[in-house]
């Protein structure tokens, strides 16, 4: 929608105002102050909250395969995997089954979460190949004041590379443990007229493993799910930028077999999920006058989900499909001294929302009209006030209107050039999605009366740059939720559950993040996060480790032609869906790479879970039902795995 367009428009003032720069004699230039370009990435999202960034350099050096692996290296975030989907956890969220955990995922500023489950892919279901990512920004905290519905616990903004960053044709191939094969081809160019083109196609296949589930042992089964871990993903991407115009299409499809037989399916029987996502985005930025910028963005999204499971030895199919169209207009005005005013309006039409099963056909649609205004006010030399809100008018399937207001207020103090302190209060909301509100089957009861959930957050962030390439950030926060949407088992003998608005919970926590880039090109990122997340009854939240710490070290070897990177992650203990507690764990990964092993040929080799640690993820509720005598509360994760990648540039 806007995160990418916002700074893109803002950037234009950078050089344009200094046309005199080229005419000025050198002596004069030498007397002017310059703003050093730090090697540490600076945030581009205009958010007064804590922001963590991973850039293309790290994605390449660590060899990250999926968005989940990128996020896993970031402050306070953690990943749970059930061998089919990857669930994200962080400040105040992390229940497996919540997928992205009420986080809005933006691709070049446009939301990619679907309109059936509000989810967005983080693993091989992800809409973008990591090789095409220039940077990933994680903005923790409520984002509804700008982004509206579903920017609940935070936003993740993915900015893709420009054609020029590829500069030619690039092919790559990879082999990995469990018969993983990956192939990619990218083409990128900046043309003579300044236009940037980027095209890419990629695919991944993996045979996977045979998993053993002790709880599945029965008279008829030895507890091993055989040949039920195969995965196949395909992605296409195209992007064109020229003279204020920006057009982009991203497509991804993934088919995966499920070994865990969720939703009480037959164990060790055919079960597959296919997720397909398409996003198209057309944007135009223009400078209307010296003090007024306009950004227009039209977008289209399509999501399809197909499940084929086996219940009582017979195939059982579920298909979901969503489509939406939207238009977002944004004006940034600097008419008044000391004010930077952002005014936006957005119209979004979710004209297709369908779920069909042998027993039910759901067909829904909704429309949303939104206005948002934000003003960044310079109060005094070192003080800024950031105030704004977003108003959403929503018309549901039955023609009923609701409205939601999401205000945000932040005070920013810049005591020195190198330090900034931000105190913010912000709010967010999320409407129940079609699945939570209307879907029903043998395991789930619908709840037409389900209301929006809300979040209020207060946060204090202190950021200091010790020198140009050393940054430290500390933050403390408190989140309070209200009418939290949560699936609860129905009372009595029923095995059904239902989504309900529960009394809210709280999350109190503190984060610390450190980043340094030395002259000799050694790079370090480190973070530690503590959080205390509780439900309305003061009980510890499911799958919410109290401590999460990360260390990432990247070291050049042999005159920088080689690079070794090491990452270490430590997570505290967690509570499962059955209220048992599972232990914490530490994970280490190592990657060695050479940029020019042969002319134009780069090679990298990586080991994940270097010390072959046994560890478990909390299982989502969906996997519990089958083994009700002996519930599957945890899912054993992969031991040590290897990958080897070669990248060749045609120049």
């Amino acid at each position: 929608m806007m995160a990418a367009s916002f700074p893109a428009v803002a950037d234009k003032s950078g050089f344009g105002g200094e046309d005199g720069l080229m005419q000025a004699p050198l002596e004069q230039l030498m007397a002017m102050d310059v703003q050093s370009a730090s090697k540490i990435a600076c945030q581009i999202s205009n958010a007064p909250s804590a922001v963590s960034i991973v850039t293309a350099d790290d994605i390449k050096a660590y060899g990250y395969h999926t968005l989940a692996e990128i996020l896993e290296s970031m402050r306070g975030l953690y990943i749970s995997n059930d061998h089919t989907y990857t669930f994200l956890g962080g400040r105040g969220y992390g229940r497996p089954g919540d997928f992205t955990g009420r986080i809005m995922l933006l691709l070049d500023g446009t939301q990619v979460n679907n309109n059936i489950y509000n989810s967005a892919g983080l693993d091989y279901t992800g809409i973008i190949d990591t090789a095409l990512i220039e940077r990933v920004e994680y903005v923790s905290g409520p984002g509804s004041a700008i982004y509206g519905n579903n920017a609940f616990f935070g936003i993740i903004n993915i900015v893709t590379k420009r054609g020029h960053d590829i500069n030619g044709m690039q092919v790559s191939g990879e082999v990995s443990s469990h018969q993983g094969r990956d192939a990619k081809i990218h083409y990128g160019k900046r043309l003579e007229n300044g236009a940037e083109v980027l095209l890419s196609a990629s695919g991944f296949n993996s045979d996977g493993q045979n998993y053993y589930f002790p709880g599945a042992v029965s008279a008829t089964s030895d507890g091993v799910a055989r040949h039920l871990d195969e995965q196949q993903s395909r992605r296409l991407f195209g992007k064109l930028e020229w003279d204020g115009w920006f057009a982009e299409v991203a497509y991804s499809t993934r088919k995966k077999d499920l070994p865990t037989a969720p939703f009480s399916a037959d164990f060790n029987a055919p079960y597959s999920d296919e997720n397909t996502a398409l996003e198209a985005n057309l944007k135009h930025d223009s400078q209307l006058s010296k003090s007024l910028q306009l950004s227009l963005n039209g977008y289209y999204g399509n999501y399809d989900y197909d499940r084929v499971a086996t219940h009582f030895a017979a195939p059982w199919k579920l298909a979901s499909s969503g489509q939406w169209l939207g238009l977002n207009a944004q004006l940034i005005g600097t008419w008044f001294d000391g004010h930077r005013i952002l005014f936006g309006s957005e119209f979004r039409n979710d004209y297709k929302q369908e779920i069909s099963t042998p027993d039910a056909d759901l067909d829904s649609h909704e429309k949303t009209l939104s206005f948002y205004v934000h003003d960044e006010i310079s109060l005094a030399a070192k003080w800024k006030l950031n105030a704004g809100a977003r108003l959403d008018y929503h018309k549901d399937n039955y023609g009923d209107y609701t409205e939601d207001t999401s205000p945000r207020l932040a005070l920013i103090y810049l005591p020195t050039e190198a330090t900034n302190l931000k105190l913010s209060w912000s709010t967010a909301y999320r409407r129940p999605n079609l699945f939570e509100q209307s879907y029903a089957d043998h395991l789930l009861l619908d709840n037409p009366g389900l209301k929006s959930e809300r979040l209020e957050a207060a946060e204090f962030v202190a950021e200091h740059h010790f020198d140009r390439d050393t940054r430290m950030m500390a933050s403390v926060y408190r989140y309070e939720t209200e009418d939290y949407i949560w699936s609860v088992p129905l009372p009595g003998p029923s095995i059904q559950s239902q989504f309900n608005n529960r009394d809210g919970g709280t999350a109190d926590g503190a984060d610390l993040e450190f980043e340094k880039h030395w002259q000799n090109d050694v790079r370090v990122r480190a973070s530690a996060a503590y959080q205390d997340a509780r439900n309305a009854y003061g009980k510890w939240q499911i799958n919410s480790p109290r401590q999460v710490a990360k260390l990432n070290v990247s070291v050049p070897l042999m005159h920088r032609s080689w690079r070794a990177v090491f990452e270490m992650q430590t997570y505290g203990e967690r509570k499962t869906e059955e209220a048992t507690v599972i232990g914490g764990y530490s994970l280490a990964n190592l990657t060695i790479s050479a940029d020019n092993l042969l002319p134009n040929l780069g090679v990298s080799f990586g080991v994940r879970n270097l010390f072959d640690r046994d560890y478990d993820a909390v299982a989502p509720r969906s996997t519990l039902t089958k083994f009700s005598q002996n519930p599957l509360t945890t899912i054993a994760q992969d031991g040590r795995t290897y990958w080897l990648r070669a990248v060749y540039d045609f120049k």
């Binding site: 344009g16 230039l29 102050d33 703003q35 960053d165 205004v373 105030a387 008018y393 020019n596």
Partner: protein
């Protein structure tokens, strides 16, 4: 009606607080300044057997200028015209009068300098290692100002003549 009242209230609440404050003068982004220096270097250098007004500026390695060189190229007001190319590899450098080498090419320093040996191409870098390896001009940020060092011996070997003004205001000149 209720909705309109609310919207009005909402807009007022957000827009009302009006303070008049002077915006502070922003420093110039480093790479914008580097682009301006490159323009000056082009104007203060003469190439043997080349009298054209068009100077081809090439960039090798990662592009950190983020569009400021394009603005340089679009500016026709000055005495010289800059045309721009981003090199996929060194072999494409034949028609360049100037070559900016980014620090990402550090690992290939030897090959680059060997290839360019005595070619009439004005080489510029902002990497200390590359400058030490023999690039003609090094651009460095020092105390928030952009300064430059000149390896005069290298420019002479390549047959380039850089103006005495350039040598005079350089921080350091290697003879």
């Amino acid at each position: 009606m209720k909705r309109i009242v609310r919207l009005t209230f909402f807009l007022l609440a957000v827009l009302l607080p009006g303070f008049m404050c002077a915006a502070t003068a922003e420093p110039i982004p480093e790479y914008d300044m580097k682009a301006a220096y490159l323009y000056n270097f082009a104007a203060l250098t003469s190439w043997p057997e080349y009298t054209g007004k068009q100077i081809r500026l090439c960039v090798l390695g990662k592009d950190r200028f983020k569009g400021s060189l394009e603005k340089l190229a679009a500016n026709a007001a000055g005495g010289i015209r800059i045309s721009l190319s981003y090199l996929p590899n060194l072999k494409a450098s034949e028609n360049c009068q100037m070559l900016f080498i980014d620090s990402s090419e550090q690992a290939n320093a030897e090959d680059i300098l060997q290839y360019l040996d005595n070619m009439p191409v004005l080489t510029v870098t902002d990497s200390p290692d590359l400058f030490d390896a023999g690039v003609m001009i090094g651009l460095f940020v020092e105390n928030k100002r952009l300064t430059f060092d000149v390896n005069y011996a290298q420019t002479k070997n390549a047959g380039l003549s850089v103006s005495s003004k350039l040598l005079r205001i350089a921080r350091r000149v290697l003879q």
